[in-house]
């Protein structure tokens, strides 16, 4: 190992070290012909929870690996708590970075007990102290009584919590999580996600979570970083990124839009089903108009903006998914309406469209 690396091995001891910030600057990484990251920069403040969101292959996991020191990028720098850990001539190996990393498959050591797993990162401490910390960590996730069991004896949710306890036991300044909830089934996912985030908030750890699920990202992140093909598309709070998507891609990622061709002029866009004042302005000329399904509501006859015929209606429990054919559009509009209000298929429906749910984008962005 090089001098630089050994110089960094003075890893902070187990006790909580306090949250650290993460700064990633101009990171580029290619794998053969594919560009995984194209000069990406991102700052995560100490104590902040940031979600890297995007489809498979967008570079979000590569970014996490670069931060963890598992991947050495082709170019760029990484600072953790102000200390350069990746950069020209500098590469601190993962064991000396003081980070926690959680994997989608949890990566529990199958040959070690639960408590052995949690103690793994505490090997530099005296045995009794390590034991105490591991116990406390397991207590925090409610699994203290499983200490002598082996990973395969636990359910998926329990394994996830062991992985969390193990990652947090050495008191990392930052916790990196790669799709930590995606191996859980739908029912337990939400409750475990909430528990996990609560724990993390208590320990005030900086947290970077990779996910492809927009709902998950919105429910846990202070800030969402939306990525696509190795670049950051948009960064913002969940509300900002949802309500003011910078691109059609961002809008589509969070919402299943009704997309209609339109023509923008001034503050208005003209479409075959009427003119709207979109949530944000777009340059004059041909444009693409997106209408959120929940922006469409039923109104009593006479007050409607638009009239259509219900084509199909599906009961989804909390809402009805309704398709409404409207004159001038090739495809029916789909809408999410409160349960029990939509007319039966074949009947006429008067609808109104909330301008706050209408987005407009320049035509050339439609890729």
């Amino acid at each position: 190992m090089s001098k630089l690396q050994t110089a960094g091995t003075s890893r902070p001891a187990a006790a909580a070290t306090g949250a650290v910030s993460l700064q990633i600057e101009n990171i580029s990484q290619r794998f053969g012909a594919t560009v995984a990251l194209d000069s990406v920069s991102l700052t995560v403040e100490a104590g902040e929870t940031v979600c890297l969101l995007g489809h498979s292959g967008c570079g979000k996991t590569t970014m996490l690996r670069v931060a963890a020191g598992i991947e050495k990028p082709d170019a760029g720098t990484v600072h953790l708590g102000g200390r350069m850990v990746t950069g020209p001539g500098v590469f601190v190996p993962p064991e000396a970075r003081g980070i926690g990393l959680m994997f989608q498959d949890y990566a529990l050591f199958p040959h070690l007990t639960i408590s052995g797993n949690v103690k793994f990162g505490l090997s530099k401490l005296p045995a009794s102290q390590a034991q105490a910390i591991a116990r406390e960590a397991l207590e925090r996730v409610g699994l203290a009584r499983y200490g002598d069991d082996y990973p395969h004896m636990l359910s998926g949710g329990e394994q996830q919590r062991v992985a969390l306890a193990r990652a947090l036991a050495p008191g990392p300044g930052i916790l990196l999580m790669d799709e930590p909830f995606s191996n859980l089934d739908q029912r337990t996912r939400e409750s475990i996600r909430e528990e996990t985030m609560m724990l993390l908030r208590q320990s005030s750890t900086t947290c970077v979570v990779v996910t492809h699920d927009p709902i998950e990202a919105m429910s846990i992140a202070d800030r969402i970083v939306l990525m696509r093909e190795g670049v950051i598309v948009q960064t913002g709070t969940p509300e900002e990124i949802y309500c003011k998507p910078a691109t059609l891609f961002a809008a589509r990622y969070f919402c299943d839009l009704n997309e209609i061709d339109g023509e923008a002029s001034g503050n208005m866009v003209r479409t075959p089903i009427g003119s709207f004042s979109p949530a944000h302005k777009v340059a004059d000329g041909p444009c693409l108009v997106g209408i959120r399904p929940q922006a469409i509501s039923l109104v009593i006859a006479g007050t409607e903006d638009l009239e259509g015929t219900v084509v199909s209606r599906r009961f989804l429990g909390e809402s009805d998914a309704v398709n409404i054919a409207v004159a001038g559009l090739d495809n029916p509009l789909h809408a999410h309406l409160p349960t029990g209000y939509a007319p039966a298929p074949g009947e006429r429906a008067g609808i109104r469209i909330d301008p706050a749910g209408v987005l407009a984008f320049p035509q050339k962005m439609t890729t």
Partner: protein, 587 residues
Amino acid sequence: MNITWTGAALFGHKGERRWLLLSALVAALVAAPVIALAIIAAQGSGDLWPHILHNVFPFALRDTMLLLTGVGIITITIGAGLAWLLTAYEFPARRVFEWALLLPLAVPTYIVAYVYLDLLHPTGPVQGTLRAILGITNPRDLWFPEVRSMAGCIFLLSFVLYPYVYLSTRAMFLMQAGSILEVARTLGASRRRVFFSVALPLARPAIAVGASLALMEALNDIGASEFLGIQTMSVSIYATWVNRTNLPGAAQIALAMLALVVSLILLERWARRRQRYVSMAQRARRATPLKLTGMRAALAILIASVPVTFGFLMPAAYLVVEAWKRIHQAGISAEVWHAIFNTMSMAVAATLVAVVIGFFVAYTARLLRSQSSDALLRISSLGYAVPGTVLAIGLLTPLAAFDNALADVIETLFNVSPGLIVTGTGAALIYAYVVRFLAISAGGVESGLAKLPVSLDYASRTLGETAGGTIRRVHLPLLRPAIGAAALLIFVDCMKELPATLLLRPLNFETLATQLYGEAARGVYEDGSVAALAIVLFGLVPVIVLARLSRRPALAHDALAQGRTAGIEAGLLQGEPAGYSPPPAER
């Protein structure tokens, strides 16, 4: 999202280069004999070459090809046939046959020949009993097929080599989706047609793997062919060197034999070019077997008994009886004790070295995940495909040169003559064993590592453990079974090894195998049965392990094939290593 992480980052460039350099050194040591062979062969054998070209080579090639063809046909017929019998049908004692059919693996080819030569000798027990039944007194009046013949050699080798085909094919039949076979039935195909038009074509890759392993063994054999009077290439190489002391001539035949090995490997790869497609059906449920009763069940039992009887029960029973007689009469001689000690010490030393180096090479390939580290792993596993005689001829010259140089240096420095340090001490033998069986440990560790998600490595590293600590605390404990199995296989293979041992052992150094060979070649049957029994008993240990694993077919196939096919795959460098995912790409 399963991601193949690159390990390079974890080592930094210096560490990475060091691992790679050491791997390259291992690969160079493995490749050295083959390169040396080419150089020796190029020197020409002078006056003797026309003789070899006209009187040795054509016959050696013809006999070898005949032998391989015969063994190929018979092992495939027996192996694939039995595999189908035991998976598609249910009959009494089927579960016993499942493992019993593996037993002949414990009997090396030279021992089966040794045994049957005596058993079928005109004055031996078989013909004697026949004459007694028929009332013939003169041995010449009884016609009996000559065992010292090509046909005899083919049958004897096939009876101990078919388990390779049986094991791989059976694993494939069990892994084939039962639904595929059942759907064929619902489409109106008879069981017979299902076998020939669905199961067999789908199993072709497995048959190819098994058959190529069997043929490698046949090619490697020296004892059986020699005893039975078949002038195969292995035998010719040995004779050309030992009797005519013509090293270039031996090297030339050896090179030709190497070409044969390469074509065998190419054939095997060609035959399983669709394996990817076949292995789609992995989490398969076995098709419901047809229950046989009455005569049909009896027939099934009879069919399954034949290979076990000829391949294992008869030879084992013969050896037990003969060895007991011998021990009863003369006790266990000092020569046998010596041979046991020699065999054990060589095998233990070679196993240790092979396991350590194999672990190292496979681990480097996992860490670096680069094309060069993978290629080095392939080269390091090449030795398995190189027949023992070929390897020995390739090693003789470089080792002797090394010895002389070393002796010169020591003599100049210390003014004492150290003798032959490598070739005189058995170090050469250990070297040859390691080269030959490195594929087993490297392949075993490689497939063991492939089953460990790389996220474990990174979990360990981010929890503050170093690279070395991760090996010690995570990988070694998890790989213990894989390493243990590899060590066992290597140990037993070293014990049984004959061709390279014959050529590379120090003077007057006998192992169990060479002692047996010596007696059989001289036509005396003294301690040979004791030595042979010892070899077979040791050989049973891995077979028992394999038999236990074979209840879980995929595992048994892994254990047998991965170490060995790794060696075969190694022959073609462009091949992807077994169990590897393609290079890193985020999915």
